[in-house]
């Protein structure tokens, strides 16, 4: 089997418009969650989110492009551009044919659906713009990334709710490891912070009105975010031959289904995915120094996740660090695992563990080292990234420091 390394990263999210700014915010424990700005806000009960403020698509694209790019596509294109630039790759000939895109998203072009439902239902118009379908489709972002960068190999979108980007990156990893592709652009993008998107989440009664406080006893729910992160996954020999800078190595992946409940998480399902990723990477439990948690800040997730980690790691659970950066950038739903992978890379490369901010009171049911409120310097060689979705779908990645 081939080795898979990461040679480029890009992002846009509430913490920053690029990787450097985002990592700086994570190091400083800065909160990107703020008052939402959107139409009909007064009709929402939830008015905070990890929103990308003061974002002007016209600064980057012309009218014809914007007519085709939903907000989630724009985010994906911005993140992909940065990642490819860092990798130094340009895709022509055989490399183009052996490179593709696997993108995670849950809502796809939800903002486009939302706006156009308004047009036909609320405003009673009988005509919509001709490109609504290619703009809202879930694969639009993956396709535009492939078109923009001439990626002609396998390209598709993965939708597994909150685990979408981990599932996507897992597919990219498998495709390179097995020899199907040499380079894959992968990650996730989400732009669900629109009126309809938030209204639907409000209905579930799991959203916090004030802050995302994962693992804290007084946590009272999740906070939505938006944005994207994309990575260049590359065959190690290919990267080595061209002298590329390697950010980290992807060494394992596993996915499981709880096959139990459409919303309530299962400790067993999560534990099987964590154990599976470690087995795939041929790791012992004491190899793992840091876990980027799913850590949504809901009652159900956080205690289930901590119990799963305790089950898998036994005594070592007390020695490892586990933090949730959702406290800073919010829950990007289908894009969340991708932004969180940035924290994993920072842990491996820079020896900085991103904190769980907003942490106020210990919860005996989440009695792990959650790196409360302040980033920590620590040398770690192996990290895991957890994602556990509605529908009981779990996906865990394992990464190793590239030395």
């Amino acid at each position: 089997m081939r080795r898979v390394v990461i040679t480029g990263a890009g992002t846009i999210n509430a913490l920053g418009r690029d990787v450097a700014t985002t990592l700086e915010a994570m190091r400083e424990g800065r909160c990107g969650i703020s008052d939402l700005k959107m139409r009909d806000l007064e009709r929402l009960a939830i008015r905070i989110g990890g929103q990308v403020h003061d974002y002007v698509p016209e600064d980057r694209w012309n009218r014809q492009q914007i007519a085709l790019y939903d907000r989630f596509t724009q985010f994906a294109l911005i993140a992909a551009e940065e990642a490819i630039q860092q990798s130094g790759l340009s895709f022509t000939g055989k490399l183009a044919a052996r490179s593709g895109v696997v993108l995670g998203t849950a809502g796809g072009g939800l903002s486009t659906s939302d706006e156009n439902y308004r047009t036909v239902y609320e405003e009673g118009k009988n005509r919509v713009h001709p490109f609504i379908v290619p703009k809202l489709m879930n694969n639009a972002a993956a396709s535009h990334v492939s078109m923009e960068h001439n990626l002609k190999g396998p390209t598709f979108t993965v939708a597994t709710a909150c685990a979408s980007s981990n599932h996507a990156m897992g597919q990219a990893f498998h495709m390179i490891r097995s020899g199907m592709s040499d380079v894959m652009l992968t990650g996730g993008s989400e732009a669900m912070l629109c009126f309809g998107g938030l209204k639907a989440w409000e209905g579930l009664r799991v959203m916090s009105k004030d802050a995302c406080r994962p693992f804290s006893l007084n946590r009272n729910g999740m906070v939505q975010g938006e944005g994207a992160a994309m990575f260049v996954f590359e065959d190690y020999d290919h990267a080595k031959a061209r002298g590329a800078e390697i950010l980290a190595e992807v060494i394992g992946f596993a996915m499981t289904s709880d096959a139990a409940d459409i919303v309530m998480p299962s400790k067993q399902g999560a534990a099987r995915a964590i154990q599976g990723a470690m087995t795939d990477a041929q790791l012992n439990s004491d190899d793992v120094g840091y876990i980027n948690a799913h850590g949504t800040g809901t009652a159900a997730n956080d205690k289930t996740e901590c119990a799963a980690v305790a089950d898998v790691f036994g005594h070592h659970a007390d020695d490892l660090m586990i933090s949730s950066t959702k406290s800073m950038h919010g829950h990007l739903i289908g894009g969340t695992g991708a932004v969180e992978l940035l924290a994993c890379i920072m842990a491996l490369r820079d020896g900085v563990i991103a904190p769980t901010i907003g942490y106020e009171e210990p919860d005996p049911e989440c009695a792990l080292d959650v790196v409360p409120n302040e980033a920590r310097d620590a040398k770690v060689d192996v990290v895991l990234s957890n994602a556990f979705a509605f529908g009981g779908l779990n996906a865990v990645l394992a990464l190793r420091k590239f030395a």
Binding site: A45, L204, R205, R219, N220, G221, V263, A299, A300
Partner: protein, 85 residues
Amino acid sequence: MTVRDKVIAIIAEQAVLEPSDVTGDSSLEDLGIDSMGLVESIFAIEEAFDISVPFNANDPSESDFDISSVDAIVAAVEKLKAEQA
């Protein structure tokens, strides 16, 4: 239909029981209503009475809406109706 009758009808529908089997002292748990059934019941109550129920599924016991028994829910709905009238 009184407030009590309406609340009982909503809960009975969720629990797949006859309204006559839903007694005032029973808890939703006794009636076999799980967390999703609870969220649906709250939604149905809001729609039926045109009220907004303060309820966070992360910690139902900490919400300002007492759901410990059918009687408690009826009383809470009556209070909200009076407050939000």
